[in-house]
Amino acid sequence: MANGLNPIAFLTRTRRPGRIDITDILSWVWLIGGTLIVLIPVVWAGLSSLKPAAEITRFPPSLLPHAAVQKSVPGFEQPLSLWNVTIDGQQKQMAMVRRIGLKAQMVDPDKPGPPISVDVKEMTQVQRLTVATENFTDPLTRFDFLTFLKNSVFVTVVATLMTLIVNALAAFALSKYKFRGEKAIFLLIISTLMIPLTVIMVPAYLVVVGVGLVDNLWGIIIPTVASPTGVFLLRQYMLTIPDELIEAARVDAASEFRIFWRIVLPLTAPALAVLAIFSVLWRWNDFLWPLIVLSSRDHFTLQVGLNSFQGEFSVQWNYILAMTFLSLAPVTVVFLFLQKYITTGIAGTGMK
């Protein structure tokens, strides 16, 4: 711990201790530059989602969410915006009544008298940091956002649970039994990895229509449950579970399903966790398939809903960005906590 605490030594630790060569500096430039490119659009969208509607289209934009300070002045129905004004070399806070061309009419908010005319060059708006919570609350209460959110949560949870069970059962059969056609079935399942949705989306849609699941949340859950990556990942893991455990259970007259449920499944927990994380991310982010299958707003998932909002509120970026942020937040939280599992899971199986 003692030598690890020296921050300078930590930051300058390179391949050859004590020397920094040009390639180290270039590496740092690349990594820090890349990190900024990754973060800036996301953080910018996040900061913008806190800005009130009037502020969001201002150009050049301010970095932090500001809002004009308003004050109700006796004699005026609407609250007036406050400005810092220089009159006769003196700084004063005034409320603007109206603006005509390059002149603005101002009154003193504390002693409202007849308005005085001020040159717009002489004034700057009084602003303070404000978070426009209405960007988040309005979509939740006024629009269908809550419905979308509910649908997405339902699809993600149910599809993930079903994915885990269905694929674990298949993986159990393919790893712990010898039977005719074992190899052929495994190859058949793995071969579906090569068939992307984009190639079969038209006929897959027709099948979903045929089984009566079109415009139904089950229509986006059931077709995605059987997953070749899931079977592969779980099977490879189950192969490492010693067969002696299963033999011992059989001697104790446990049924096959009980062996699966009580012995194999608990021991597969790490692989199940990886598959669960992936399944949650897949289902939460799914776009093309729900876009095809779902047609009524009541059934939209968050991603499809967000896309449709985009068409409707093309100018109300404050709402769009707030909802974008709400849909991005769970993924970010999952990533912050489970980053290690996700990256090692991908490096180990090459799946996404």
Binding site: W30, T192, V202, P203, L206, I222, P223
Partner: protein, 331 residues
């Protein structure tokens, strides 16, 4: 204490549910014997694959030879190769306007351009990042995570975030104005919009390929580098004589995977460019299929299926190349 009693209640509930589920399965075992159990365990998976993957493949090929606007095979007249003729008849293939299905050919050319730029750019960026992350550099885990983060975002979120970033009032224009460059509406300009579709695609996918390349780099035996440093080989020589040749199998896998996925570009670009705009500058092949089948009231399932079959054949060829290369590498 409360949490524990709730979790034990949950356990008991689960046990109850499982004993109900278990009964018919155990009945099956008694009736059919242990030898048949794996078939039962495989059944749900295989039924789902059969209905939602293998059946559609069979239908796709069948539908490509039918016309009309009916939904089910019985409502659709057989038209032979008409759909393929419609897609492929062209006076001059370099000139989408001269083709019968000009949108299809616009989409093909757009996709080809996108694939070539995107594959090159992603490969270069991912390789550079992987090589740097493979060095003993401080904060490696942090940077690896940072580059990977966009991979997890949904295409809609990515599209919207970038749309806002590139907006007329967005941050990029604000930055350009600071440098004295007049603002530009990037996504309404053909060249810029195509450029940024590639940028966004690299932005959100490079982390995945970086991880695969990094895994390949870390599998290279360390003693090779020790030997090289004993021989006082220059870093450049080490890179071209040791690192890159030994990374070649991974590079090839990444290259083919990138091609397969780039051909299927759709969702981020669709959201970012408002459905392929400006005009048809960013309309890609999957978008063509989507629009023919679902986009309007046209419902040209035959034409869309024929286009899917053609794209499927291209992807199949790429996959076969990948498999062949994979086999070669193993031996």
């Amino acid at each position: 204490m409360a949490a524990r009693s709730i979790s034990s209640l949950g356990d008991r509930l689960l046990d109850g549910v499982m004993s109900i589920v278990e009964a018919p399965i155990n009945g099956f075992e008694r009736l059919m014997g242990r030898k048949r159990m794996p078939y039962l365990f495989l059944a749900p998976n295989l039924v789902l694959f059969g209905i939602f993957t293998f059946l559609p493949i069979a239908i796709a090929v069948g539908y490509a030879f039918t016309g009309g606007t009916g939904l089910f095979v019985t409502e659709r007249p057989f038209v032979g190769f008409d759909n393929f003729r419609q897609l492929l008849s062209c006076e001059n293939y370099l000139e989408p306007g001269s083709c019968k299905e000009s949108l299809f050919w616009t989409a093909i050319w757009n996709t080809l351009w996108f694939v070539s730029f995107n594959v090159t750019a992603t490969l270069l960026v991912a390789l550079t990042t992987a090589l740097i992350l493979n060095r003993a550099i401080a904060g490696r885990g942090f940077f690896r995570a940072m580059f990977f983060y966009p991979v997890l975002l949904s295409p809609v979120v990515i599209g919207l975030i970038w749309k806002w970033f590139l907006d007329r009032n967005g941050l990029l224009n604000a930055f350009l104005q600071m440098l004295g460059v007049p603002p530009e509406i990037f996504l309404l300009e053909v060249g810029w919009s195509r450029f940024f579709v590639v940028v966004v695609s690299v932005w959100c996918h490079m982390g995945f390929y970086t991880l695969i390349l990094l895994a390949g780099l870390q599998a290279i035996p360390k003693d090779l580098y020790e030997a090289a440093s004993i021989d006082a080989a220059s870093p450049r020589r080490t890179l071209f004589r040791i690192t890159l040749p030994l990374l070649a199998p991974n590079l090839l896998v990444v290259l083919i995977l990138l091609m397969i996925r780039s051909v299927q570009i759709f969702d981020e670009a669709w959201v970012l460019t408002n459905g392929g705009g400006p005009g048809t500058a960013n309309s890609f092949i999957v978008q063509y299929i989507y629009q023919m089948a679902f986009g309007s009231d046209l419902r040209l399932f035959g034409l869309a299926s024929a286009a899917s079959v053609l794209m499927g054949l291209v992807l199949l060829c790429l996959t076969l190349v990948q498999l062949k290369l994979g086999k070669k590498m193993e031996s």
